[in-house]
Amino acid sequence: MKSPSEKDNICNRTLFNQLFQKLAPDLYNFLYYKYGADNNPEDLVQEAFAKLWDNCGKVTPDKAKSFLFTVANNQMLNELSKKKTVLNYKSQEPQKNSTNESPEFVLEGKEFQDKLKKALEDLTEDQRVTFLMNRVEGKRHKEIAEILGVSRKTVEKRIYTALKILQEKLGKI
């Protein structure tokens, strides 16, 4: 148990900076997967933390995370010029020795990537961010539930639904 003074105070610069370094990547990934690269996730992270710093006296450390995610999400939704979510992927060399030679995958390389990109963009924002946090960032369901402030059951439902949608769109196996 921390002492009350320490617990209640994120106005301390060292503490706040620690909080920033700990939470910023998660917030960044959340915004990136939810709204895509074109909606300046990096700026939104900065703005959300600036707002937290502004209100550091009113927000307790255990509330800081949900404060940040709520603020960032609201800022995003308030943006009049919110762009359609566009996910960028790295241009890649054809992978010869990879497992995607499985006969079930008819589409390969660029063509498949485009199809996958489209399918991901067509998922709901919540499905996409949850699914990609699990599959790409390798986060456990419980961890995602904490980050997003929803129940583990909700996370599992989203992941499973997203998987089934992708399976439907990219070819039955």
């Binding site: 910023a24 996730p41 900065q46 710093w53 790409v136």
Partner: protein
Amino acid sequence: MEEKSTILKYLNGEMTEKELEAFKQTSEYRFISSLDEELDNFKAPEYNPGDFQFDKAEKKKSIVRFLKPALQIAAVFLIVSSVVFYLMPRPTLLSTSNNETLSFNLPDNSRVFMNAGTQIKYSKSDWDSERLVDLSGEAFFEVEKGQKFTVQTEIGNVTVLGTSFNVTNRQDYFRVDCYEGKVLVESGNQEITLLPGETAQWTISGFNNWKEILNVSPEWLKGKSTFRSTPYHLVLDEFERQFDVSLRTKKINKERLFTGSFDHEHMEAALRSITVPFNISYSIEGKKILLFKQDSN
């Protein structure tokens, strides 16, 4: 088809080695592992938060702090100015529509009689320092003695000290009749002083003035419109105003000068008064009247 719970177990990395061995034989596993490989290309770029930039955040904060009092001042200013605007004296506006006359007293008890289709504007609060009336239309004034009294129209101004006079301003027609006292009339660079019984008139064709008035007040106040060398279209306009009708004409020279009068009592009698002298016929359909030349058919 694998069970949902089995798939979720795999997706959460919770399988025992034995379970994993079995799951690897399924088509679900093959799809997911292939998908995972492809999804890796969609990984968010490496984000290195570095240190939080406090000065940047505080700069924004300080701008807000700096703006706050400014916004408060602006709000107070807005409220004060709207109250001032609301309380500020605004000119008094009076108007008559067709077939309507109105008389009222100005703050100094000078009396104004407004003929039909007339607007008058004056400022109550400025009245003590300046007796000024804006007129468009026709009105008769009985001015109490005092300082300068001015009637402004688009075409000319009338200035008096204490007297009674009639001012008519219809389109490009401007006429002043003096009934009592002395009236100074200005229009453009022309200036004329009228004595009782005198009239000054500006029409599009020029200026003329004459002495003829015998009465103490204009005819229209007794329900009669009189004209002297007045373009016919102005006569028709006045007729429309007095009876609230609309006149249309066919093959009629409306610039011809008309001298005569009509009564406000009976419309058809009045219509005869202004048509018979010019040999004009008319047909009446409700509020619409057509005037046409008699010998045209």
